[in-house]
């Protein structure tokens, strides 16, 4: 079983989630509660050096999945592994030593930098917490990190509001990189930026991944940025992964009906598939209960009767290509 994409560097698993569920309780009134499942049995591996895009519309649980990978939230059920170690059984000390290796860049560069701190202090804090380091060593590492992300040392004494959105996002990236992470979770890092800046940041991310062998989990709702940056794409729908495939295969193989829908409504002039806006029907139902059957059933154009009661598993249809759909197996 050889994966299809070119720069797939290693089979070494950096991080993994196994059958992860995340439940939120919504209090409605005094006595009634509603249970909301953000994730419903997600299993996913991240390999060394790859960019795994998690693609899905808002509310599908992609951000929650990212936070679970980051260890910011605990799953209600299931396990999270970092470098082969289960986070649940990790001692505080071990967790602390692994902590710098898994970092993140968030969507909004304005809210991801503390407005009351200078860039110098924003970048020095992660270093001083995780490593024994003097001010001078710190400053030289900060200088290096700024160089990596293409910023001059002029910004050191600025406050975040004195920088542009693109510059702020670069600072956020430098803050994550300064700890030399092995896994970087990028939660829609470009969706708050201008188109030209988006391209710059995406190119920078590509370059950094190749030179430092970092794995990315790239959370996005845009099929175009996923195509541009990712080596592998996982498509999520209502808290479930419905398809995983090598990024190169996008649009060239039979896809899950939901991915098909995403492709068909994508307004990209270079899109091989013609936009077909008539395919856009309905909205995702909120997964308040454990829905039986296929989550995509209400919107699917191929639906059959047993789709409503039976839940399709993720099945490998060709090497590296997994689909959960009875129509495609």
């Amino acid at each position: 079983m050889q994966p299809m994409h070119e720069d797939f560097i290693d089979q070494e698993v950096i991080s993994e989630v196994k059958d992860v569920w995340k439940r939120f309780e919504l209090r409605i009134g005094i006595f009634s509660k509603k249970t909301f499942y953000a994730l419903r049995g997600v299993s996913l591996k991240v390999f060394k050096g790859e960019t795994l895009a998690i693609l899905g519309e808002s509310g599908c649980g992609k951000t929650t999945l990212g936070r679970i990978f980051l260890g910011l939230e605990e799953p209600s059920r299931g396990e999270v592994y970092w470098f082969g170690k289960n986070l649940k059984t990790l001692s505080k000390r071990e967790f602390k030593s692994l902590r710098p290796k898994v970092q993140a860049v968030f969507q909004d560069p304005t809210s991801s930098l503390n407005p009351k701190m200078r860039i110098k202090d924003i970048l020095f804090e992660p270093l001083s917490i995780n490593f024994r380091i003097t001010k001078e060593e710190g400053l030289s590492q900060i200088g290096e990190a700024l160089k990596k992300v293409g910023l001059s040392e002029k910004v050191l004494y600025c406050y975040p509001h004195e920088l542009s959105g693109g510059q702020r996002q670069r600072v956020a990236l430098a803050r994550a990189l300064i700890l030399q992470p092995k896994l970087l979770v990028l939660d829609e890092p470009t969706s708050a930026l201008d188109m030209t800046i988006q391209k710059q940041i995406l190119d920078l991310l590509k370059e950094l991944r190749l030179s430092f062998q970092i794995s990315y989990i790239f959370i996005t709702h845009s099929i175009n940025t996923a195509r541009y940056l990712a080596t592998r794409i996982a498509v999520m729908y209502l808290g479930k992964i419905v398809e995983i495939f090598p990024a190169q295969a996008l649009g060239k193989v039979p896809h899950h009906p939901y991915t098909e829908l995403l492709l068909s409504v994508n307004l990209d002039p270079f899109n091989p598939v013609k936009p077909n806006l008539s395919a856009l029907k309905g909205e995702p139902s909120l997964s308040f209960e454990e829905v039986e059957g296929c989550p995509f059933y209400p919107r699917c154009q191929y639906k059959k009767t047993n789709c409503q009661t039976l839940s399709p598993e993720l099945v490998e249809v060709s090497p590296g290509h997994f689909i959960s759909c009875f129509e495609r197996i």
């Binding site: 710098p100 968030f106 503390n114 009351k116 804090e125």
Partner: protein, 272 residues
Amino acid sequence: MLKALISHRTGFFSFLFLIILFLSALFGPYLYPVSPFEIHVQKILLPPSLEHPLGTDLLGRDVLARILYGARISLQVSFVAVGLSLVLGVSLGAIAGYYGGLVDQIICRIIDMFLCFPTIFLILAVIAYLEPSLTNIMIVIGLTSWMGVARLVRAEILSLKEREFVLSARLYGASSARIILRHLLPNAVAPILVSASLGMGHAILIESALSFLGIGVQPPTPSWGNMLIEGKETLEVAWWLSLFPGLAILLTVLALTLLSEALQDILNPKRK
């Protein structure tokens, strides 16, 4: 921030007034070297004149000197009381907002409990039980005025802690204490400052009210509140005895209130 304050008209004037008040409380006794305690039987109830700019009282003491000395007392009371209420309010509010859950529930119920008592009666009861010394008054005012600050800080922390820079800090391993002290509270300074300046005005008013009721600062130590009550009996013949301490209270509290409004304007980026 100081620059913005200077260009804000009401903010500037109230700030200027408070600075002058502060300096005159500090250095007044040197600039106007008349004892506020010395009794002159032959100079009873003199109206304002060049020798005694604000007149003299029933015991022939100089009113201006007493107001200057009273400013010290009133400012001291307001600073210490507000300091105490800030320490209590900020720390409890930050803990409640940051940790949430049961801790939050308990702290909120304590706040509700304190808010249930009518403050002035609580103070009356405590002071009647203890002795009405300056220290006790400052502590009691502080202990009964922290709830507003706590609620404010809690709400502020609740919204701040979801911001992504706080998530980032957790990601690089910052401890809870560091997150609260370095990342959350510095971003909540604006509402804290506003409520502190309001609180100082409030403390001065409470101290005056207590002195007026005779359980505040005890004579012969002058405070604006007890000067006001001393002037009450002679209001028809010697208006200056009540008017000037009353004016001092009015202007100071007004300046503090206006300053807090100005700070609200200046520190709120959305109003710019």
